[in-house]
Structures are given as structure tokens and as C-alpha cells.
């Protein structure tokens, strides 16, 4: 009963028009508070958008990260380093939210320990990789193109082998980066039944 009266009192105070503060102060104050909270939300989101966050989980550190270190996206002559979120979280705000929702599933996976050993990770790898492939296929390899763009690609500077491929399949819009460049950042899972991007079967589609 006491709680109820207390709550009621609170509500009355809350609902009564302000006598002490001007309307201007309240709107402005509300605005500032809004900015602060929104900013805080954004900052929190930014923090989860860093590689350090990703590899705070051993699943991500012991497997994809260790492998990434061997590849051209970790060390190269240009000194540009691709980090996990560069390839895995879209820069678009809306895509970001959608991806974060999916990430909660990962947190779930962590808590219930779906992949707590290397073996379990390898067993699951094909499935996880397929999620990434279909995502990149659907967005036309958006993340790759944030750094590499077909428009800025000077194929006369590429080796003939690469230039031929890009000319035949990429510039014609037949295929996208991920069709041909699977496994550029991590070891590949069992690839049986997956055609390379230049196979006549896929390109005939």
C-alpha cells in the first residue's frame, strides 16, 4: 500500500506542469539530454565495432584472427590493414543495426558454448562461411568494395591472369568479388560442391 501511494505521489509530481523551470529550459535540456544519450548509444555501438571487441572472444581470436595474421590483409606493402569489422560489419547505419541483431545470436552462442574448441569451430566452419558468402553475394561484396573498387582497378597494372578474369567476369557484372576470392582472409572449410567463380556452370546462370 505504501509503495502504491509513493508511486502515485511520484506520478503527480511528474505529471504536474513545471513551476520552477521555463519551457525553454525544459526543451533545451531535453534536447541536450537526447544528444548525450544518443551519443552514448552510438559510442557503445562504436565500441562493438572494433577488432578488439571481436577478438575478446576466444572463438574469434584463436581461429579467424590467428589465420588472418598470415594473409595479405594483415601485412602488405601498402601498410593498409583490414580488420574484422572492415569485412564483416557494413558501414551503413541500418545494415549496422541489422548486423548487431545477428551478433546477439553469437553472444548467445558464446554463453551456451556452441564452439568452444578448435574442432567444433572447424566442424561448424562450412555453415558459418556460407552465411558470409551469401551475405557478400547479396550485397555485391560491399565490404570488399569499400576498399577495392572495380572502377579504380587498373587492369593494365595487374598480372594478365588477374586482368583476364576481371575483364571477363567482373566488369561484365557476371560475378562479384566473393564468387572468386573465397578464403582470402581465413582458411577454407570443406569446399566440395562449390564451384569457383570462373566455372562455366556458375557463369552460365
Amino acid at each position: 500500500m505504501a509503495i502504491k501511494t509513493f508511486l502515485l505521489q511520484c506520478w503527480r509530481v511528474f505529471a504536474r506542469p513545471s513551476v520552477h523551470f521555463s519551457l525553454g529550459f525544459l526543451t533545451l535540456g531535453g534536447f541536450i539530454a537526447g544528444v548525450v544519450f544518443w551519443g552514448g548509444f552510438n559510442t557503445a555501438l562504436e565500441a562493438t565495432n572494433k577488432e578488439a571487441f571481436c577478438i575478446s572472444c576466444h572463438e574469434m581470436r584463436d581461429n579467424p584472427y590467428e589465420e588472418l595474421k598470415q594473409t595479405i590483409h594483415f601485412t602488405n606493402r601498402s601498410g593498409v590493414r583490414a580488420s574484422c569489422p572492415d569485412c564483416h560489419v557494413p558501414h551503413e547505419w541500418t545494415d549496422k543495426i541489422a548486423r548487431k541483431m545477428q551478433a546477439s545470436k553469437e553472444v548467445w552462442g558464446k554463453i551456451f558454448g556452441t564452439i568452444d574448441t578448435r574442432e567444433k569451430f572447424l566442424d561448424k566452419r562450412r555453415e558459418l562461411a556460407e552465411h558470409e558468402w551469401s551475405r557478400l553475394k547479396a550485397n555485391n561484396s560491399l565490404e570488399c568494395r569499400n576498399c577495392h573498387s572495380a572502377e579504380s582497378m587498373d587492369i593494365t597494372k595487374q598480372n594478365p591472369r588477374a586482368a583476364n578474369m576481371h575483364e571477363t567476369y567482373l566488369f561484365t557484372g557476371q560475378n562479384t568479388c566473393i564468387d572468386c576470392h573465397k578464403g582470402i582472409a581465413h582458411r577454407l572449410p570443406d569446399m566440395h560442391g562449390i564451384d569457383p567463380g570462373w566455372s562455366m556452370k556458375t557463369s552460365a546462370k
Binding site: N159, G183, P189, W198, S199
Partner: protein
């Protein structure tokens, strides 16, 4: 503030021998700069520069007919294991039309009993056992190999006469 300067000065003093030997090493003659005889372990021997891979896509002449041809292209990070043989994504019979790569020859299909299988046999699965890319490094040891034509003096003659 003062203590910081002091620490910096001490660190510099401690590093002085390294500076001096570094200078000595840099003054040495060309080639591997390892002095003969005992030398202080603090001496830094400069590593030789690494050599560039030749990845110009130009096929190399084979020195004898059944030499495994050299790889004329980049193979960095190409995975060859139980999960995937990256080489075969281009050199497999089924993929050569799309990749315009030469097909592995039929010798690759033969097992050790001479049986020709439908695809690459186990003993030819690990391509880089036999096929290697080249760098622009100068050979450390000379080579007096002469090919078939040079030995028989038949260079330029065709038709087996």
C-alpha cells in the same frame, strides 16, 4: 623532469656499443657481412634483402621434356589440403575453360601402378612438391647442366633425324 633526462642519457650510454658496432657492420664489404672469427654477440649482421617472386604469367622453357614446369604466377596463400586444392580450381579438367589455364597432364592421373584414374591421383595432389615459383635470386651454386640438344648437338633440328 630532471630524472627523465637522466634516464634518457643513461639509456643512450647503454646503447652506445650497439651504435658503434652498427657503424662498423655498415662499413664492411658487400655480401654477407659476417666477420670471420669470434665477434661480439651484440654485433648486428644485416640480413640480405629478400628476392622478388617472378609472377609475370610468362611460361618458362622446360630444361628437359618431363621437367615439372615452373609456376609463372603468384600462389601466395593458396590452400592445398583435404578441404580444397586451390590449384585445381583452375587446372582441373572441368575448370580450364573458365580459367584458361593449362590442364594438368594425364600423367597426373596415374597412380603408382600406372593405372589412369579419373582425376589427380594421390601422389600428385600436393602440387608444390614438384611445381615451384621462381624468384630473381642469383643461384648460390653454379650449374653445369646442358640440355639434350646441347649434348647431342642437335639444336634446331626437328623430325628426329
Amino acid at each position: 623532469m630532471k630524472t627523465r633526462i637522466l634516464i634518457a642519457a643513461l639509456a643512450f650510454l647503454a646503447a652506445a656499443p650497439a651504435f658503434v658496432t652498427g657503424v662498423v657492420a655498415a662499413d664492411g664489404p658487400a655480401g654477407p657481412k659476417l666477420p670471420s672469427g669470434p665477434h661480439p654477440i651484440t654485433l648486428d649482421v644485416q640480413a640480405e634483402s629478400t628476392h622478388r617472386e617472378i609472377v609475370d604469367d610468362v611460361k618458362n622453357m622446360r630444361n628437359y621434356a618431363d621437367q615439372p614446369p615452373l609456376i609463372p604466377h603468384a600462389i601466395r596463400d593458396y590452400q592445398i589440403d583435404l578441404n580444397i586444392n586451390k590449384c585445381m580450381t583452375c587446372h582441373d579438367r572441368r575448370n580450364t575453360q573458365g580459367s584458361q589455364a593449362p590442364m594438368v597432364s594425364v600423367t597426373h592421373f596415374q597412380d603408382r601402378d600406372g593405372q589412369t584414374l579419373g582425376t589427380v591421383s594421390a601422389r600428385r595432389y600436393f602440387c608444390t612438391q614438384c611445381h615451384v615459383p621462381q624468384t630473381d635470386a642469383k643461384p648460390i651454386v653454379g650449374n653445369s647442366f646442358r640440355d639434350f640438344d646441347a649434348v647431342l648437338g642437335t639444336a634446331g633440328r626437328e623430325g628426329g633425324k
